[in-house]
Subunit: 308 residues, 2 copies
């Protein structure tokens, strides 16, 4: 799969592999495509098409990251300068479009209309989730349910699709597809919850991005939603000033971290992640015990425990 | 098709139809999707799937425009403020991604792997063409051949794909596909040549954009390539200063227009467009004379004559 990723990021237009490989070779976890590989193997798939679909999934993810960096005006990703800082917003947008096109070409090459349906639907839902995130940004009245709608669309939908195309390519039945889709969806929710906790609780070196990036961008994530709702009137006024009016100085970030600690909202965010992790685990429970099932179970622990 | 375009631009996320309809309802010519409809009818297609593929084509085009406006930092498109000026770069990038996702969903819904292959390949080539355009920008050594490679990829490839999926959905044979692909490719080249001439020779009110936008962006198009190559040493130094060093003041635009007139490069650019138009015409020649063939022939004249 890594070989295919590198070869399909190639182009006669020299800037494309340069920009694409900057991100592709930056130590990403390859978490989503590994779901596809493991999920296909779980249903005893013996062909080669799961590698193509896994590569498609990774390219969809990479395209999203390239576009996200433009949307968020980020300067750091996985501990390196973002592509847009080196090559400009233009290259980030267009190389993202190229990778999305390559993703679809590989899916077409596999020839499964079911896989195409699942992955193209995910592409729409991801974009909807990103737009939804824009429209709730800097709005402190966002509820936990609003937030869940955002992360379900922008993150969990691709995890779900990545897992579901495994049984599809293996020509497993509907119950296998549903099990893996549910596993992926809930794993994705857990993953994003932990990610959002890490943004306030991690170290920059481990994160590969800056602590408090979400705070400075006015992104509304669960640690903040809970601290706002549990806070006093004065504290709520502080959050509105920091997030809605954009007064996100370092001093205000310090104060925000203090309130997050005061109300224990990081550990409660992780608590929610554990909840979804448990659902993901139960989704796989009926399937036969194999090394692939164990691997998929371990991924749940990996996603939740990286917080420590 | 217009109904389907409006309905598929819908989403529960309110900002999506707002941004999408701003562009979709801004008086675009629907030229590319009409090629799909006419090309399918030319091969006597009687179903409904050509409408879905035509809508996919228009969405691919609209997504490209939304991303282009971000890439070019444009403020005016079809005589209206660009989406990025009203809703920001973020919404332009993400709604473009959404429309591209919807385009693929509709293709999947049609279920033709051949059509999916043609259109997903076009999506890659378009992005490659846009990146290629970035890498030749502000380089006065760009040759006419380099320029042709750019416009073949960024513009003509979608015209070719739009026309080719007509015979595909009508289950016509290989020679029909090749004829329409060749027609579309050459029509697309003619279209872009005229577009690039209009940028120096049109009126803002007719263009829906500002005269000289390409000049100010340092885009290398044929009217400039020819004027540079035919110019004196002093004139070439002027072009390098204006385009490569970015001294694109109104006075310099006036001077550039003077040189373009001096060397007759607008009419020679149109001459090249006429050449490709003739190839497009001959590509269709062997096909039976029907109202659909006449319509496709008229499109060639329309594309070339809008210069007057």
């Amino acid at each position: 799969m890594n070989q295919l990723i590198l070869s399909k990021a190639g182009s006669d237009v020299q800037m494309i592999p340069e920009v694409a490989n900057h991100l592709i070779s930056s130590g990403g976890k390859r978490l989503r495509p590994m779901l596809t590989l493991a999920a296909a193997s779980l249903f005893d798939y013996r062909g080669e098409n799961h590698v193509k679909l896994a590569t498609s999934v990774e390219f969809m993810h990479t395209a999203t990251l390239l576009h996200d960096d433009v949307v968020d005006e980020s300067d750091l990703r996985r501990g390196k300068s973002t592509a847009r800082m080196i090559w400009g917003n233009q290259a980030s947008v267009l190389v993202g479009d190229f990778l999305l096109g390559q993703a679809f070409r590989m899916m077409v090459d596999v020839g499964s209309l079911d896989a195409l349906d699942v992955l193209s639907s995910a592409a729409c839902v991801i974009a909807e989730g990103e737009v939804l995130q824009l429209s709730v940004a800097k709005n402190m009245e966002t509820t936990e349910d609003d937030y869940l709608s955002v992360i379900r669309a922008k993150t969990a939908a691709l995890f779900a699709a990545a897992a579901e195309v495994g049984p599809i390519v293996a020509e497993a039945g509907r119950s296998g597809r549903n099990a893996l889709k549910s596993y992926g969806m809930n794993l994705g929710l857990a993953f994003q919850l932990v990610d959002d906790a890490l943004d306030y609780g991690g170290k920059a070196a481990d994160l590969g991005k800056n602590v408090g990036d979400d705070f400075r961008e006015g992104k509304i994530t669960l640690p903040v939603i809970l601290a706002y709702r549990r806070g006093t009137e004065d504290e709520r006024a502080f959050w509105r000033d920091a997030i809605e009016a954009g007064n996100s100085s370092d001093a205000n970030l310090e104060k925000a971290l203090g309130l997050i600690t005061k109300y224990g909202t990081l550990s409660d965010t992780i608590g929610r992640a554990v909840h979804y992790g448990t659902i993901a685990r139960d989704a796989l429970a009926p399937l036969p015990d194999t090394v692939w099932k164990s691997a998929l179970m371990e991924v749940i622990d990996f996603c939740i425990e990286r917080v420590n």
